[in-house]
Subunit: 316 residues, 2 copies
């Protein structure tokens, strides 16, 4: 469930554009007005606003936002305003660049989007970067990381409910066998995790748990500092319980010395329109404090207001 709140009656796009233009005018910038509009429009509405803005003023709304805003607030507004597919393409692109490299972000995009949405991100990547996402991921990674990440980003998983119990049993056994041999980068483990449907994986991993007495991720903790094993566990979590995965990303981003604003912004902007309500519930359960209170305690100013609006706490 989404946390995005859209007013019952949304003004026409040209009116929103006029207000945004007003917010940019003069010496100061009216950040509150920008939040009031953009943080309360869904993807289709934001897209229309960008189109009408370009047609009316001959300017690119994203460029104007970029010029008017700064720092974490700027990044949150820009990421949020982007079309989800373009946003994923941008996040994936950054994740393959040296200074912002992140195997986790690549994995997160590959595993938590629907098959169709992941494909749309790949199309947006072509359009924007004149290359394929897998091309950059493969070039940027090596060894076991590449072996796992490339099939993850190129997957187009079946999304129906059909599952095969016989297969689940045999593949649970196969997973257990390879994990017992500590062959964590084994071809069969990679094959199963990167090609099977999420429904099928769920059945397989439940079977694993029933048959062998441990959740698979418990058996993948041989060396808690091994980066590949960490990524493998996160992959499994993303594929089977994305809301628990995102809760942990938020928890780690908030409960550290100096907030990890990139992670916080990424999770809030990419999930607000998808399942952030569910993530919030997980967060509250796990941390005994509501997510919005945690965010308010760790952030400030317009950035805080933007995040709170997206998590469902802004004025409409």
């Amino acid at each position: 469930m989404a946390t995005l709140r859209v007013p019952a009656s949304v003004p026409p796009a040209d009116e929103d554009c006029g207000q945004l233009r007003k917010a940019f005018a003069g010496w100061g910038t009216n950040e509150a007005l920008i939040i009031q509009i953009l943080a309360h429009r869904n993807a289709a509405q934001r897209k229309l606003i960008r189109e009408v803005y370009a047609a009316t003023y001959g300017d690119d709304l994203l460029k104007d936002l970029d010029a008017e805003l700064s720092s974490d607030f700027q990044r949150a507004v820009l990421l949020w305003t982007l079309d989800p597919a373009e946003r994923d393409a941008l996040l994936a692109y950054e994740a393959t660049k040296r200074l912002t490299a992140s195997n986790w972000v690549i994995m997160e995009i590959a595993c938590t989007r629907s098959s169709q949405d992941l494909f749309k991100a790949r199309q947006a990547y072509h359009a924007r970067y004149k290359r394929s996402i897998e091309e950059d991921v493969a070039y940027h990674t090596a060894g076991d990381f590449r072996k796992l990440l490339v099939p993850l980003v190129t997957a187009f998983r079946y999304e129906g409910d059909d599952v095969n119990m016989t297969l689940a049993k045999s593949e649970a056994k196969l997973l257990h066998e390879k994990i017992s041999e500590k062959a964590y980068n084994n071809d069969e483990i990679i094959r199963i995790l990167t090609t099977r449907s999420k429904a099928q994986l769920n059945v397989t991993l439940n079977q694993y748990n029933n048959e062998f007495g441990n959740a698979i991720n418990k058996n993948l903790k041989d060396d808690p500092k091994d980066e590949y094993l960490k990524l493998l566990r996160a992959t499994i979590k993303c594929l089977t319980s994305p809301e628990r995965y995102f809760e942990k990303v938020l928890r780690l981003a908030i409960n550290r010395v100096g907030t990890d604003e990139w992670a916080l912004t990424r999770v809030v902007t990419t999930r607000a329109e998808v399942d952030l309500q569910h993530v919030k519930e997980e967060y509250h359960k796990r941390n005994s404090v509501p997510l919005d209170r945690a965010i308010a305690g760790d952030t400030s100013g317009d950035y805080e207001k933007m995040l709170l609006a997206l998590t469902g706490h802004g004025d409409l």
Copy 2:
């Protein structure tokens, strides 16, 4: 260039359906009429015929064709009548089944279709088989074959003309280095061949040829009987000169004891609407005999007539 010939004035779909229905009626089947209609309609027209046929008679045209026709002629008509994406899905599905297994067919579909068409085949595979194409390919293959085929079928290559010369030089060098070490299944070789755009690969492989004095495929002939090396060479040929690849498939299908009808039918039905004219020219050049004469010499009856119609020789 396509060889398919469509009449200047195509009858409305309901008229085509009435004629087909007539061709099926009574004791015999009017094969000539079936060829006259279906072999001279493009993909959109055939699709419409199937829809109107189902709406008018409540029957599936493909099922009726299946019941009325037999053997090689039947397979040619069925494959041809299918929508290209459904046809590719069917061919890929067969290629992962034990009795009809073929790594070559999987590679051929992955490497000679446009990125968008390959994706459509993956969508059609979901719809028809309730699984993903990569899931079945990965399950059916192992070792080096899997390592090459899975990224090939999941690729969504960039298709613009932008190429990077610096990258081409460094990757040509890298390919040469790994090939010199006989590391034919090396991760970097696989990465380059499975992720780079066809335009970029062309530049890289020309650079390879210029710099190292041999076409890459010459250097991949270490052991002419090695099945993996054969597939690797065919992959490179499909990606860079598909018409030469298809010429060879046709040549081998025809110049053997007993024609390979499956290969012949596959190439003719999948390329007639794409580039069979170009393949025909290659064939004539290489074999000093026109393709249609070679087909006529090796096949007979309605099957021959169907293939000749698709290669551009039927009456309109």
